[in-house]
C-alpha cells in the first residue's frame, strides 16, 4: 500500500500544475488524511446524529467515548503492525506491553502517590524497558518459536496480574486509577471530549512514528528482514539489532497506548493482559491490511466499532425478532468478526486496504470489450 500511495502522491504532484477536471479528485487523494484529521478534531463540537453507526449524536459523551476507544485501538493496531507487517515478526505477546504501560502507571499513582506526569513517564519507561529485556531474550529464537516465547511471557504476565500479588494488581477486578491524582481536565464524563483528543493525538503520533520509522534506513532493513532474513545477513547486517529496535519501538508505542487506555477507562483491567487481547490486535491488523499505511488503523477502528455496536444491535428489536438460527450468530460480535476475519484471510489477501485496488481491477476488466469466443480462442492458444 505504501508504494501505491507513493505513486498516487507522485502523480498528484505532477498534475497539480496542469489545470483540469480531475484536479479536485487528485487534490482530494493527496489531502484526504488532513481533511479526515480536521473532521475528527472538530467532531466533539458537532451534534450530528449518525443513526445506526452511533447510539447518540456525534458530540455526546457516549459516542465520543466509543470513538476514542476506536481511535486508540486503531493506533495500537498500527503500532503492532510495525512487528507483523513491517518486520515480519509474529508476536503473540503484545498485550503485555500495553498492560504494562497501564498497570505500571497506575501502580506509581496508587502505591507511590507520585504526580501524574511523573507516573506516566515512569510507566512508559517501565513498559519500554520490559519490551527491551523480554524482546532481547525472545528474539534469540526465530519463526514460530519466537511467537511462542512471546506468548509464554505474556501469559506469565497475565497469570501474575490475575493472581494479585500483594494486592497490587487487584486480580480479576482490576484497579481504578485515583481520580484526585489525574489531571482534572481528563476526569469525569463532562471531559470526554478532552479524552477523545488525547486518543486522537495518540493515533496521529503513532501514525507519524510508524511512517517515519518505516521510511528511515532502519525501516528499509526491516522490509528486507521481512522478505528474506538470510539475505540481509549475507549483506553484512545483523538482523537481531534491527528486529530488537522494531520490538522496543512497538513496545513503547503499546505502553503509551496503555497509558491512554488508563485515562480513557479510568483504570486497569486484567482483560488487557490476556492472549485474546493480542489475538484481537492480530485480527485488526490482518482485517485492515498488514504492512500498509492505513490498513491496520482502519482494521482497528472497524473491529472496535463492530465489537461494541454489534452487541447493542443484537439487543435491539430488529435482531431479537429473528428466528434462532439467525439471531444466535448475529448476537455474538466475536463470532461475526471471527468469520469475517477467516473470510478476509481467504478471499482478500492484503486486507481491506487492498479492496479499492481490487475493485478497480474488477471494474476495468469488463471495460475491455472482449467477446467470449475470442477469449476462448486465446485460452486454447495458451496465450495469457
Amino acid at each position: 500500500m505504501s508504494t501505491v500511495t507513493e505513486t498516487h502522491d507522485r502523480t498528484g504532484e505532477k498534475h497539480t500544475v496542469a489545470p483540469g477536471p480531475g484536479n479536485t479528485a487528485r487534490l482530494l487523494r493527496r489531502w484526504w488524511p488532513a481533511a479526515a484529521l480536521l473532521i475528527l478534531a472538530v467532531a466533539p463540537y458537532s451534534a450530528l446524529p449518525l443513526p445506526g453507526l452511533l447510539d447518540g449524536p456525534l458530540g455526546s459523551p457516549g459516542s465520543l467515548q466509543l470513538l476514542a476507544t476506536c481511535l486508540l485501538f486503531g493506533a495500537l493496531a498500527t503500532g503492532y503492525d510495525l512487528l507483523l507487517g513491517r518486520t515480519g515478526l509474529l508476536s503473540f505477546g503484545h498485550a503485555l506491553y500495553f498492560a504494562a504501560g497501564s498497570y505500571a502507571t497506575n501502580m506509581f499513582l496508587l502505591e507511590a502517590g507520585l504526580p501524574f506526569a511523573v507516573s506516566a513517564l515512569l510507566g512508559l519507561c517501565f513498559g519500554t524497558a520490559l519490551a527491551l529485556v523480554l524482546g532481547s531474550v525472545s528474539l534469540r529464537v526465530t519463526g514460530i518459536g519466537f511467537s511462542m516465547v512471546t506468548l509464554a511471557f505474556a501469559q506469565a504476565g497475565s497469570i501474575l496480574v490475575s493472581r494479585n500479588p500483594g494486592g497490587l494488581t487487584g486480580g480479576e477486578e482490576g484497579r481504578a486509577a485515583p481520580a484526585d491524582l489525574l489531571p482534572s481536565g481528563l476526569v469525569g464524563i463532562e471531559h470526554t471530549a478532552n479524552l477523545y483528543w488525547v486518543a486522537l493525538a495518540y493515533l496521529v503520533l503513532t501514525l507519524a512514528v510508524v511512517h517515519w520509522a518505516v521510511r528511515s534506513p532502519t525501516g528499509r532493513v526491516w522490509e528486507g528482514i521481512k522478505e528474506n532474513e538470510r539475505r540481509v545477513e549475507v549483506l553484512g547486517l545483523k538482523p537481531y539489532g534491527f528486529k530488537l529496535t522494531a520490538f522496543v519501538l512497538a513496545g513503547a508505542l503499546a505502553a503509551l497506548g496503555g497509558l491512554v487506555h488508563l485515562l480513557l477507562t479510568g483504570g486497569s483491567t486484567p482483560q488487557t493482559t490476556t492472549s485474546d487481547f493480542t489475538l484481537s490486535l492480530l485480527v485488526m491488523v490482518v482485517l485492515g491490511g498488514s504492512g500498509t499505511r492505513w490498513g491496520p488503523m482502519v482494521g482497528g477502528i472497524l473491529y472496535t466499532w463492530a465489537d461494541h455496536r454489534l452487541g447493542d444491535l443484537a439487543g435491539s428489536g430488529a435482531v431479537a425478532d429473528l428466528p434462532a438460527v439467525l439471531r444466535v450468530p448475529l448476537s455474538q460480535p466475536l463470532f461475526l468478526l471471527g468469520v469475517l476475519f477467516v473470510a478476509v484471510v481467504h478471499l482478500l489477501p492484503g486486507g481491506l486496504a487492498r479492496l479499492p485496488s481490487r475493485l478497480a481491477a474488477v471494474r476495468r476488466r469488463p471495460a475491455t470489450t472482449e467477446t467470449l469466443p475470442a477469449r476462448k480462442a486465446r485460452k486454447e492458444n495458451g496465450r495469457p
Binding site: L90, V137, S138, R140, V141, T142, G143, I144, G145, S147, M148, V149, L151, A152, F153, Q155, A156, I159, L160, S162, R163, S275, D276, L279, S280, L282, V283, V286, V328, P329, S331, Q332, P333, L334, F335, L337, G338, V339, F341, V342, V345, H346, P349
Partner: protein, 295 residues
C-alpha cells in the same frame, strides 16, 4: 502421603487431558507446520457435543452407563467431523500460505467459542456423568476421584492406538515420512494432502475425546475451557518435541505433575506460572527442539 498420592493422580489426570490435546497439535504441526489455534475450539465442540447428548437430547444417550458411553462417542464424532471440516474448508485452500493458515485457525478459534456461548450461554454448565465415575476410590490411604483414572486410561489407549497406527499402517508411514520431509514424500508421488486431512481427523478426535472426558474432570463445560487449556498444550508440544507422540506423552505427564505440585506446595498460581516460564526457557535453551522427530 495421601496428599502426595492425590496430587500425583490429579497431576496425571491433568497430564492425560493435556496429552489428548497435545498429541493432535503436535502431529499437525510436525506434518503441516501449522500451529492450530482452533484446537481448543475442537475440544470445546467435543465437550459440548457430549454434554448435549448426555443431557437427554440424543435418543439412547444419557448420563449413566451405556448411555454415557454413547454420548462420549457422539461428542468425539462431532469433534472429528468439525476437525475434518476445518481442514477441508479453512486450512486446505491456504496450502501455499503457511502464515495465513495459522491466522485462519486463529479466526476459527475466536469464532467457535463465541458461537457456543451464543447458543448455550457463556456461563459454565453442569456436566452430567455416570454415578460410577463421580465417586472416589482408595489408593495408598488417599481418596482419589475415579475420573482421574478414566482420563489416564483414555490417554494410554490413545497413545497405544497412535503408536500402532503410526508404526504399523501404511497411512501411518506416510504421516511419519511427511513429518521428516514433506517435500520428499510429495516428490515420491504420494498425495500428502490426504495425510493432512487424516492428521486433522486424528487430532480432532483426540481433542474432542479430551473435551468429553474433561467435562468429567472439571464437572462442568464452558465455552472458554478449550482455549485456556490450549496454552498448556503448547507447552507440552514444545517440551516433547514437535511431531513426537511419545514425547508429548512424557511431557504432558511431567507438566501436569509439576503444575499440581507447585500449585499445592507454593502459592496458588505459581504452578501455572512455572509451566509457562518453562516453555520460554526450553525454547531459548534448545531452539532446535522445535524440529519434528517422530518417536
Amino acid at each position: 502421603m495421601s496428599t502426595v498420592v492425590l496430587l500425583t493422580m490429579t497431576g496425571l489426570g491433568l497430564g492425560a487431558l493435556y496429552f489428548l490435546i497435545a498429541s493432535g497439535l503436535s502431529l499437525i504441526f510436525g506434518l503441516m507446520d501449522v500451529l492450530n489455534f482452533a484446537h481448543g475450539a475442537l475440544l470445546s465442540i467435543g465437550a459440548y457435543g457430549t454434554w448435549w447428548a448426555a443431557s437427554g437430547n440424543l435418543p439412547g444417550a444419557g448420563p449413566g452407563g451405556a448411555g454415557f458411553l454413547l454420548a462420549v462417542l457422539f461428542g468425539t464424532a462431532v469433534g472429528t467431523a468439525a476437525a475434518v471440516l476445518l481442514e477441508l474448508t479453512v486450512v486446505r485452500p491456504l496450502y501455499t500460505r503457511p502464515r495465513e493458515q495459522v491466522l485462519a485457525t486463529v479466526g476459527v478459534g475466536l469464532a467457535v467459542p463465541a458461537l457456543l456461548s451464543g447458543i448455550w450461554g457463556s456461563d459454565a454448565r453442569t456436566f452430567p456423568g455416570p454415578k460410577a465415575l463421580s465417586g472416589t476410590f482408595g489408593l495408598l490411604g488417599a481418596q482419589v476421584p475415579v475420573n482421574r483414572l478414566v482420563l489416564v486410561a483414555a490417554a494410554v489407549v490413545v497413545l497405544v492406538a497412535l503408536r500402532l497406527f503410526l508404526g504399523r499402517t501404511r497411512h501411518g508411514l506416510v504421516v511419519r515420512a511427511g513429518v521428516e520431509d514433506r517435500a520428499m514424500v510429495t516428490a515420491l508421488g504420494i498425495d500428502v494432502r490426504k495425510a493432512f486431512t487424516l492428521v486433522f481427523a486424528i487430532g480432532g478426535c483426540a481433542a474432542a475425546l479430551g473435551g468429553a472426558l474433561g467435562g468429567l474432570y472439571f464437572g462442568s463445560v464452558d465455552p472458554r475451557q478449550g482455549t485456556s487449556l490450549l496454552i498448556f498444550a503448547f507447552v507440552v508440544v514444545v517440551t516433547g518435541g514437535m511431531g513426537s507422540v511419545t514425547g508429548a506423552a512424557v511431557a504432558s505427564a511431567v507438566i501436569g505433575l509439576v503444575q499440581q505440585f507447585a500449585n499445592y506446595y507454593t502459592a496458588a498460581g505459581l504452578g501455572d506460572l512455572a509451566v509457562v516460564v518453562l516453555l520460554a526457557a526450553l525454547l531459548l535453551l534448545r531452539p532446535r527442539g522445535l524440529t519434528g522427530r517422530l518417536a
